[in-house]
Structure formats: C-alpha cells, structure tokens
Amino acid sequence: MKTYSVLGTRAPRLDAPDKATGRALYTDDLRLPGTLHEALLHSPHAHARIKRIDAGRARAMPGVKAVLTAADVPGIRFGVSPARYDETVFARDKVLYLGDELAAVAAVDREIALEALERIDVEYEPLPIILDARQALSGTAPQIHELYPGNLSATVEQEFGDLASARSQAYRTRTGRLESEMQDAAFLEPQAALAAFDSQGYLTLTSSTQSVHYVQRTVAMVLGLPAHKVRVIKPYVGGGFGPKAACSTLELATCLLARATGRPVKITFSREEVFLHSRARHKFVHDMTLGADRDGRLLFLDHEAMLDGGAYASFGIATVYYAGSLLGGPYRLPAMRYKGIRAVTNKPACGAQRGHGGVIARALFERLLDELAEELGRDPLEIRLLNMMETGDVTCNDLNMSSLGMRQCLEAVRDGSGWASKRGKLPRGKGIGMACGFFVSGAGYPIYRSDTFHSTATIKVQEDGGGVLLHTASAEIGQGSDTAMAMIAAETLGIPLDCVRVKSGDTDLGVDLGAYSSRQTLMTGHAVREAAAGARDQILGAIAALLGVAPADLVIREGRIAAAREGISLDISAIRDRYTKEHRGWTDNPSSGPLTFREASRLAFLERGTIVGIGNYRPPPLGGKFKGAAVGTSPAYGCSAQVVELTVDLETGQVAIESVTDAHDCGKAINLTSVEGQMQGSVAMGLGEALLEQVKFDRMGKIQNPNLSDYKIPTAVDVPPIRTIVIESDEPNGPYGAKEVGEGAIMPTIPAILNALHDATGIRFGKLPVTAERIAAALRGVALRDDPSAESSSCIPKTGVTPPAPYPPKAG
C-alpha cells in the first residue's frame, strides 16, 4: 500500500472557514454598480396557445428598463443534447407547462420588476392538458411539443445476451412493478444569475451552475456571440444535485437583458420558481422480470420503463438510457432486455438528479432480488454475494468494472450491522433490509459530440516562491472538489496543502465539463495530477541543473527537496546563499536543513522564468457499438452496499429509520471526511425519496406543494445515525486510484428501505414515496401487495406511433 502525506487525510475543507463566517459569496450575494433587477413571467396555464402578448404597458412604467418577449430575442433552440434542442428562451406560440417562461423584465428595483410583470398582457387559448405519461402516449392525446409526434420524447430498445434461452432455463422468476413520483432536488440555494457586458462587448455571466462550460457554449450559441467573448463564472453554489447542470432561460434571459439595457442584470429564483423550473427527478414506472437458476444465480432481466419527462427533454434522453444501462451491474447478468420510453407531458421538464436515471430502477431490481432469495430460501445477503461482480468483470452491456470492491462492501455492512443476528429474527413492526448499487465515475462522453478534453488544469508556481496557483474550470458545488483537487496537487508536488491556492469554476481558467455524472474527482483529478507533476518536474529540473545532479535524483517531500534514494549527497549551500542574498533583511530565511520548496521554486523561476504545469484529461474510447452504448460508459465505477434497520408503527404506518450501515467503494479516498459526507448526504436524500418526497399537481397542472413546508425533505430528526465504512479499491483508471462517491452512494438506500419494510410488515411496496398513509392502508389490507402491476399489463402503452428518427445519444 502506498503511503501519502496529504491524500487520505481528514484535511478540513479549504472553503469551510469562509462558509462558517458568512464570507463565502454566492451568486445572489454579488452586486455590481447599477445592477437592474430581473423578473420572469411564467405561464399560468399548463397548455395554451399564445394569441397575443402586449408588453406596452409594462415598458411604459417608470423604472422599467427593458421587457423582452419571444418577439425580441433570437428564436434559436437550445437544450442539453444537440439532438434534442427543444427549448427557446421564451415560449413562442404555445406554453407547454404551468411555469413556462414568456417574458423577462429588467427594472431599477424588485417591486417595479414584479409590478411590470402584471402589466404584460397575454391572451391565451387554453388547450387540453395532459399530465399523465400513459395518456400522453395513448395515441389519442393532442401533440404537446411540435417536435414530438405522439408525445414521444425518446425510446430505447436494447437486448444483450440470449434472453429467450436464459428465460427457458430459469428455475424461478419474479415479476414486479415500481412506480415513483416526480421529485425535487431541493438544494438550499435557489438558482441565480448575474450578467454584464463590458465596453468591449465581452459578456460575463455569474451563475449558480454545475457546469460553466456547457453554459458558456449555450449562451454563445443563443446570443450569437463568439464563445471567447462569453465568460461564465460559478461562485460558491448552494447545492446542485443535477438540475443546475443544464443551461436555462434564467441564464439566457439575464444575458439578453444585460445586452438590451447595457447594464448589469441579476435575478434569483423564488423557491416556487425552483419547483416550477424543476429539471429534477422524473416520475418512473418500471416493470421487471428477474430470473435465476436453482442455485440462485441470476440468468436474465426483462425490463420496461416509462418516464414522465414533462414539457422538454433537458437531460432526459440520457435519463431514459441510464434507467436501463445502470442495471448491467454490479451482479453478473448474462442476458438483459430493456425497453424504455419517455413521454412529453404538460409538466415542468425533468432531468438529471443524483443517481441519474438509475435510482428507481435499482430500487425495483433490488426488491426483486430479495423476492427471488425468499423463493429460493436464501439469505438476501448470500444471494448478492453469489451473484456480485468482481474486479475485471464486464457487464453484458459492455461496462468494464476495472475495480469493484463489492465483496468488501457487502461483508462490511454484514459485519457492521450485525446482519446475521437480526435477519429474520426481528419482531413484527421491526425490519432489516439491504441493497447494493453502482454508478459511473464520470460519463465517458460529453453531452455534445466532441473530442474535447473533459478537464484541463494549470498550475502556476508563484514567482516569489513557496506557493502554487491551481486553476481549473471544475465546479465546487458543495461536494468538496476544490479541496480534493488541492490535495491531489499538494500530494503530487510534495508540498503542504496550505501552499496550494485554488481558483475554479471559471471558463477563463480552462475547460471542464463540470460537476455531473460524478466526474470531478476522477477527471479533473487526472488533469490536476498531470499539471502538478509537470510543475514539479520543471522545478526539479532547474534545481538538479544548479546542483549538478540528474532530475531523477531529486524528489520533493513535505515541502523540502530531498535525494530520491540513498547515496546521493546534495550540497545546497551555494544556491541557498543565492536565495538568502535576494532576501536580505528578511527574518524568516531558511538557514539550515534541506532546501525548502520556497527556495527551490524561487530559484527555479530565476533560472527558467514563470513555471506552469499543464494537465489535460479525456477518457479513452469506451463501451460497445450498439445504439446508446455511450450512456453508462465510464472510466471507472464506484459501488456500495447498505443495511437499513427501521420500525413501523403498525397502527399509523409511521416509519422511523433506526440506523443505516453504509459501505462505499470510492477507490482511493482523497479526503475521508468529504467521502463520508457524500455518503451521509446520499442516504438522507434517498430516505426522503423513499418515504416523503413527491411533487403534487392539481388537475390544471399547478404544483400544489411548491415550498419546503409541503414538499418535505428530511430534517435532522428524520435521519438516523449513519455508519459509514469507506472501502478503498485501487482503481487503475483513477488518479491515485480514486473514483466516485457523490451519486452512487444513493443507489442502495431506497431498496434497502423497501426490503426492510417487507421484513417489518410482510408487504412488498410498489409505489414511492412509501408514505405513512400508504403503509397504514396496506396494513389494513386495503392493498395487500401495494403492487400497481395489477392495474395494467405493461407499463408502456401501445402507441402505434413511429418513434423519432434514431440517433446515437451521448451520455449525460
């Protein structure tokens, strides 16, 4: 095992003191002189034709500087995946959901901006509202979006292995359905944007985004600006979890208003607008049949899924692919068929959220695995150990498990939870359940087709010696990436962490696809390591020349220049003298001991001028040749196992989660505290999604709970103590062996809760969230199995509609 001086420690986050004292600045905290307040006009109808928009009365108001509607802005379509660019900045002919943006106002203060919205006269012709995916796809529903006949957003059909033969060999099969509801990411910071042009026509957009790069490209494309004239800056961001990864009307309208007024413009969403904008977790319905042989070895998975996508595609094309591809592991599965379909409805667009596409699919798979174990008389943990993949295995859909600590995770939660003494031995009303999962360490391909590097980094050695500046365009959104990148730089350079200063989240600093698909540690980490090694080697080259030794004779260790091996003697007196003479009068010159990094980096500058190390990373070509093969490919995969213990009140259905034991294989843990933080946050989010969270609509398509009182996320009393066990496999494709933790950690939580609920009540729940009301009803026998599959034979309705022209999508 390699030893490190910085990696694997519990170094406090670099940003923690600023965040603890209120100094950390988020987008809404920033102000430029003369900044105008922006407000957006949202449609009050879920589906309507726009007969007329007249902004005359609003424009005439004193204090209003600009009002923009579709007639005033470029009609260029944008979105996430270029093959599904289906949004315009403002609705043009129709509004497609209640909340769709129609116009934006810039005014001297907030009150005037809001009042101006009320003076924009819009005449609507209401159209039939389609809120149900099944109804949308029925073939008789009106077409919602002009690009999508039959309201079909995307379809996927994939088959791997010989399903028919596997099915015929199965000794036992289990079939089930799981239906979820649309959910909200509920990050604490509402989206915000601040845009300003300078007198040379350069645009600077400050945004609460997860990806400055994608926003830069989209803004440039829609505004018709060269990309180099668009700078996007991400200051501190108050959580993202996926929905902040896509460029939005919030950002584009702000830039357009800044151009129209010649003044800085700022907007921050209200909490209600966060819900209206959404781009969060889809509503999924999954049907699966899972078959195993007499010993419990899995033979096949037959899987169909229907996603309610809302009005636009956003990340949803990747979502519908992920919903299938992320079941290829972490168990050996020789054959898998997947049919997925994503419907357009008159609801806010859904997109990426933590565990992108795979979370509900994983929940049903792991529930069925428990059911199979029960049928075969096997322990659920045992059947998982029997089937799990190991390092080097490749899934039937060509995902390469280049490292996989699944066994260690399973054994850790077994031993850590006291599984053997509890499983099957708890009284009615108490339950224990487990589940596993895996996830990508960064999507293998960008969301637009390109050979672009996914991450770049530069490290400039400060000319006066002693410190380095690390620059990336990666996105610190709370997960701790800035600290992790500084740690990788410090380790590689051989210097203390406090010698590294990080700037990130700025398109001026490089290219980085951003914080989505759990990619920063692996991808940005590679670039940072390469940049740091480059800077280090230049310093050592200069010092070696001064000392008359070979560069390979020197290393930097804990901030000092040392001989790489025994038998090399270094006489530093002459070069130390040179440094000291430069610093006459200074009281802290090094006078004894080995040459310091401070001296060495200064002397290297004197010899060579400014020293900059550069790093670039993009994954090698990955995955199979089949349609959609790109989605799910990654240089590496994290995996996890969890055991949940809970108590159900058999009268009221109230659930108390008593404890969670969670093991996650993140490869080399760069920062142990941050890894645990991601695991604990994932469990809390999964707990909320399993038991509490649901965006509710009335029949007019209006969200009934667009606030954090009626949309319940877990509080400190809902979340139990979480025992986190970090498993560190050595990932060959990760920097220092590191891989993901940010999203994969949520995968086992929902199914572990479902399986524990079955242990406590004997009921297999088929609808999420499993609210107290639902549990109480099931306990009263109102719905004995709570299985929605009884309602129809397939989750995908027969449409008779021709799917849109196929295209191979890129991952998101």
Binding site: R10, P12, R13, D15, A16, P17, D18, K19, A20, T21, G22, R23, A24, L25, Y26, D28, D29, A185, A186, F187, L188, E189, P190, Y236, V237, G238, G239, F241, S270, R271, I477, G478, Q479, G480, T673, S674, E676, G677, M679, Q680, G681, S682, V683, A684, M685, N707, L708, S709, I713, P714, T715, A716, V717, V719, P721, I722
Partner: protein, 162 residues
C-alpha cells in the same frame, strides 16, 4: 413610504430608511451588505436566514425589519472574534459539517441559541434543536457531531482550579 429605522446589528447602530413591508433578511442583505445571512425560501421553512434577535434564533424572512428596531441583532458576521472562529464555527470546520455552506450560517446561529439554552445536550436533543434548519448536503450527521463537540468545547473548564 419609507420609514426611519434604527437597527443594532452585531453591536453597531445603523440608521436607515426602509419601506415597512421589507423583511429583516432583505434589509440585512441589501441595505447593510451582510450577505452571510442567506435566503433559501422566504417562507420560514428552511432556516437558512436564521439570525439572533436578543439572543434567540428567528427566521429573518418572517420578521419585518421594522419589528427588529431596538433589539440586538446578531448575524453570522458578528459571531467570530477578529482573531479566531467562534468555537461552534471551529467545530463545524473541524468535523466536516459544512458542504455547500448555504445552510451553514443559519445552522450555526441556531446552534448558538440552542447551546445557550441547553449547554450539555444529548444527541437526540441536538437533532430536535436543529430540526427547523434544513440541510440537503450532509445528512446532518457531521453537523450533529460538530454541535456535540462545540458543546464540550464551550463547557467552562472544570477541576483545574487550585
């Protein structure tokens, strides 16, 4: 119609003129530039805007600025000494209780008010005490650990007298 207003924030008196419908969080952030206080919902649901009013934690989005006249307001900017973090802040830094940081100022001030009332809480009491402040990142565990550590650090030293 603007109304004259005298606000004492972090021990400093400010003379302002504000519209009477404006909330305390708006005036703190927009008029006084004290942006450490965050607004996450504007409806009293999330706790991100928590400040201390005469030492008691309140949601400053639910308080009109004019209601705070004559009271002692403490925001996150007023907690640390110039040379050192407050022990609660230090515990949050040391225990990894901060991720995105947007809830952090509110949680820390809630904890200040809570520990003033209950200096030696149990873990369950800590969870109850911070239940009005939402955090989406941490799962609360490291926050709870930090609060328990801060409670210990804030205990008056015992047994080291003559």
């Amino acid at each position: 119609m603007r109304k004259p207003l005298r606000l004492t924030v972090n021990g400093q008196l400010h003379q302002l003129a504000v519209n009477p419908y404006r909330t305390l969080v708006e005036v703190l952030r927009e008029d006084l530039g004290l942006t450490g206080t965050k607004q996450g919902c504007g409806e009293g649901d999330c706790g991100a805007c928590t400040v201390l009013l005469d030492g008691v934690a309140v949601n400053s989005c639910l308080v009109l600025a004019v209601q705070a006249e004559g009271r002692q307001i403490t925001t996150i900017e007023g907690l640390a000494r110039p040379d050192a973090l407050h022990p609660i802040q230090q515990a949050f830094v040391d225990h990894g209780a901060i991720q995105c940081g947007f809830c952090t100022p509110g949680v820390i001030l809630r904890v200040k008010s809570f520990l003033d009332e209950n200096p030696a809480p149990s873990e369950a009491e800590v969870r109850q005490g911070i239940a009005g402040n939402l955090c989406r990142c941490t799962g609360y565990q490291k926050i709870v650990e930090a609060v328990l550590a801060a409670a210990t650090a804030l205990q008056p030293a015992q047994g080291d007298g003559p």
